[in-house]
Symmetry: C3
C-alpha cells in the first residue's frame, strides 16, 4: 500500500495540515546520492556527518563536535539546515540521530553561548534552539534517537523529540532534563515534550529535581523505549525504521501531526515572548554567577 500511495506528497485531513509538509516541488540536489553532505571532508568546521542511503531511505546524522557534542549556535544551525534538506528530499523517509563520540550523545546547550554574551547573541542562540526543536519535533519523517552515551538537558530534549528512542544498555550512561541542577529552567516546550512522553507526574518530579536517569531507569520511566547492547544501537534503529516504513507514509504523517501539532503551535505562537523570557532570565547577574560556578565545577572535575 505504501508503494501505491508514494506519489501522494501532501495531505490535509481533519482540518490539520502537516506541520512540515514536504514541499517536493522545491526539491534540491545537495550532494551525491548516498552522502547528503560530504561535510566530514569538505569542511573542518562541520559538527556532524549526514549519510543518506537512497536505497533504504534512511539518513544517519552522526554528531561529531568534540569533546561532548555541545549544542552550540553553529551545531544547532547546521543541524536545522540538515533536517530541512532531508525533509525536502523525496529519497529520505527516516532519520537516525546518533553520536560519533564515545560515551556522550550530546551534553546539551553550550553554556559558553549563554555566559558573558550580549543580549543580541543570547537572542540569536535561543532562536536556534527553538529552530532545532521545531524541525525535529515537527518532522514528517520518522526520527530515531540512537542514544549511545549520556544525554543531559538539551541532549535529552533532542532524544525526546524523536519518534522512538533506543539507548545503549549501559548503566554508566544517563539521560534527563537536569536544568534545575545548573540553576536554570527548562522552558515550557521542553516540559511539554517530556509530558507527552512520560506524563505529568514523572515530568514534575524530574524537572523540579533535575533528575538524570541511568539507562535501566530511563526505560522503566518511559524516557526511552528500548535498551540494546551499545554496538547494536544504530543497527537496531535502522531495523526499527524498516518496520515504521511498512506503514503508509501519508497516514503516519497525518497521525504524527495530529499528535504533535498542538505542542508545536504553542511555541510558534509565542516564539518572541519565549526568546524575550530567555534573554531576560539568562542575562541576570545571579544566573550568570550560577553558570560561572557550574563551568568552574566542570573544569575542576576534569583536572
Amino acid at each position: 500500500m505504501a508503494a501505491v500511495l508514494a506519489g501522494s506528497a501532501k495531505f490535509t485531513f481533519w482540518g490539520r495540515s502537516l506541520t512540515f509538509a514536504r514541499r517536493v516541488t522545491v526539491h534540491r540536489h545537495y550532494g551525491p546520492p548516498c552522502v547528503v553532505s560530504a561535510q566530514r571532508n569538505s569542511s573542518s568546521s562541520s559538527k556532524m556527518t549526514v549519510d543518506l542511503d537512497s536505497g533504504t531511505g534512511i539518513a544517519v546524522i552522526r554528531f561529531h563536535s568534540p569533546p561532548v557534542n555541545s549544542l552550540s549556535l553553529d551545531f544547532l544551525t547546521e543541524f536545522a539546515s540538515n533536517m530541512e534538506k532531508l525533509e525536502l528530499d523525496k529519497g529520505c523517509r527516516g532519520v537516525v540521530l546518533t553520536s560519533a563520540l564515545p560515551k556522550i550523545f550530546s551534553a546539551g546547550l553550550d553554556i559558553t553561548e549563554m555566559y558573558g554574551k550580549s543580549p543580541e547573541h543570547c537572542r540569536e542562540f535561543w532562536k536556534a534552539v527553538q529552530e532545532m526543536w521545531l524541525k525535529l519535533y515537527g518532522s514528517s519523517m520518522v526520527t530515531m534517537a540512537a542514544i549511545n552515551g549520556s544525554s543531559p538537558a538539551g541532549g535529552c530534549l533532542m532524544a525526546l523529540s524523536c519518534d522512538y528512542r533506543i539507548m545503549a544498555d549501559n548503566p554508566r550512561y544517563s539521560i534527563g532534563l537536569n536544568e534545575t541542577q545548573l540553576g536554570i529552567v527548562a522552558p515550557f516546550w521542553f516540559k511539554e515534550t517530556m509530558v507527552n512522553t512520560v506524563g505529568h507526574r514523572v515530568t514534575e518530579l524530574s524537572l523540579q529535581l533535575g533528575l538524570m536517569y541511568i539507562a535501566p531507569d530511563a526505560l522503566k520511566s518511559g524516557l526511552v523505549d528500548q535498551l540494546v547492547a551499545e554496538e547494536m544501537v544504530v543497527t537496531t534503529a535502522m531495523e526499527t525504521l524498516a518496520k515504521w516504513f511498512a506503514v503508509p507514509d501519508h497516514a503516519r504523517q497525518i497521525t504524527k501531526s495530529m499528535m504533535r501539532k498542538p505542542t508545536v503551535d504553542k511555541l510558534l505562537s509565542s516564539r518572541e515572548v519565549d526568546i524575550n523570557n530567555f534573554v531576560t532570565f539568562i542575562t541576570k547577574d545571579s544566573i550568570q554567577k550560577s553558570l560561572k560556578m557550574y563551568m568552574e565545577s566542570l573544569r575542576k572535575k576534569k583536572a
Copy 2:
C-alpha cells in the same frame, strides 16, 4: 444510599450538566420488560439483540452482524437507537456490549460504506459514526465492554468508549486503532478517547504504527482493564456492573460527565468540520485506491 437517591433523576453540579441526562419524563415503552427490543425475532435486518433484565438493571447488547460485526450504516444507526432507548429507561442502569459471533468483537467501520460511495453517503455514514460515539462515550449509564474476540479500529473505539473493558484471555485476539495500516487515519476524537485511556505516548506510538495488541499486551498497555477466560467475559462484566451499581448513580454520573464532557464537547462543537474533513479525505482517488487494495487483500486472505 443508592436507594435513597434513586429518585433524583437529574443533577447539575460544578457548572456541568450531564452530557446525556436521562429525561425520565419522556420515558417511553418500547418492548416487554425483559427484552428491550425483540429484534432478533421481529426483524431479519437487525444487527444486534438487546436484553434488559429489569431485576438487575443490566442490558446486554449482543452484536450479531455476520461475518465480523462490521460497523455499517445500519449497524451504527440501530446501535445509537438502542443506546438512546436504554438511556431513557429508568429500569436500565448499565449496559454490556459483547459479540454473538465467534472470534470477533467488531471488525470496525464497514469499508464498503466508504468505497465507491457518493460524498452524500459518506457524509451520512460519518455522521452515524459520530452519533455512535457520542451516545456511548457520553452515556450516563455504566458501560462495559465484554470483548470476546478481536477488536480493530472502530471496534476498538467502541471498547475504549465504555467505562470498563474485560477481554477474553486469548492471545489470538487482538485490539487496537490500526487505521494507518489501511492507509486511513483515526480522527481526533478517536485519538482523544485513546489518550484518555492509555496516555499520550502509548497513543502516539500506537496510532502512528497502527498497532494491534494481543490480549496480554492490551492488559499491560492499559487498553483493557481485565482478562478472564473466554466463557466468563459476559458473566464477569455483569458481576462488575453490580459493584458499580453500589455507587450512588447521581454522584457517579456527575463525575463521569466531569471526566468526559470536555472531550465530547470538542466533537459537538466541530461535527460539521469533522464530517467535511472525512468526506474530502475519503473521496480522494489515492485513498479510494488504498481501500480497494485493502479489500482485495482481505478477499485473497479468505480464499
Copy 3:
C-alpha cells in the same frame, strides 16, 4: 549553587511569575526561631502544631484535631494561615504534613460543616477549602506528605497537593478520593490534582467508583511515591527534603510554578462559580439526606 542564589527572592521566567512568590520584604516575626507557633500550648482550640527548625529550614505541621483530623472550617483556616506564615519566612524552605493522631492522616472535609447549615456557612466553608488547596498546591516551598494513617477524600487531596508522598507501609491504611461513595462529588480541581498525579484513566476509574487504595496499591497506582515503616514516615520525609534542598530554590520554584500554575489559575478564575455550584448542590434535600445517612452509618459503626 543554592547558597549563591539564596539572595534571589523572586524570579519570573518564561512569562510566568511564581504562583505564591515569597514576599520577603513583608517578612514578619511570628514566634521564636525554632517554633513558628507555640499553638500547642497557647491555644486549646488549635488544630495543629507547627515546628520550624531554622537550622534545616524544615517545618513540620502535625495535625491534632481528634478524633480524625476532620477538615473543619477552623482547621482549614488555621492551616492556610500557617502556610501563609511559612511561605513568608525566609528561614523555611520545606514543609512536612503529618498527623499527631494514630491511624489517621485526615478524614477529609468535616461533614458537620455541610449538614444542616445555612447557605452562608456552606459558602464560607467552601471558600476555606479552596484557600487550603491554593496555599498548598501553589506553595513555592517543598511540600511533603508524611501519611501515617488513612487519608480519604479531602485528606487525600492534601496529600496529592504536596510535592512528594511517603506513606506508612501498612495495608490497614488506605487513601483515595472516595466522595462518590458518600453521594457527593469531587470538584474539578480535586480531579485535576489527581489527573496530574496518576493520569486520566486511573482518575476516571477512581473518582467514579470512589476507590480507596490500601498502601501497597496506592504505591502501584502512583497515588503515593514511597512506602516506609510507620515509625520512619516523618524521618524519611525530612531526609527526602534535604535532597530537594540540594536543587537551587529559584530554579525549582519556577519549574514547580510552570507545572502547577495552569491548574491553580483554573480555580482562581472561577472561584465564585465553584462556590455557587457547591452551595447549590450541597443544600439540596436529596444531598442533605445522603449526608445524614452517611453520618448515621458512621455512628452505628462506632457503636
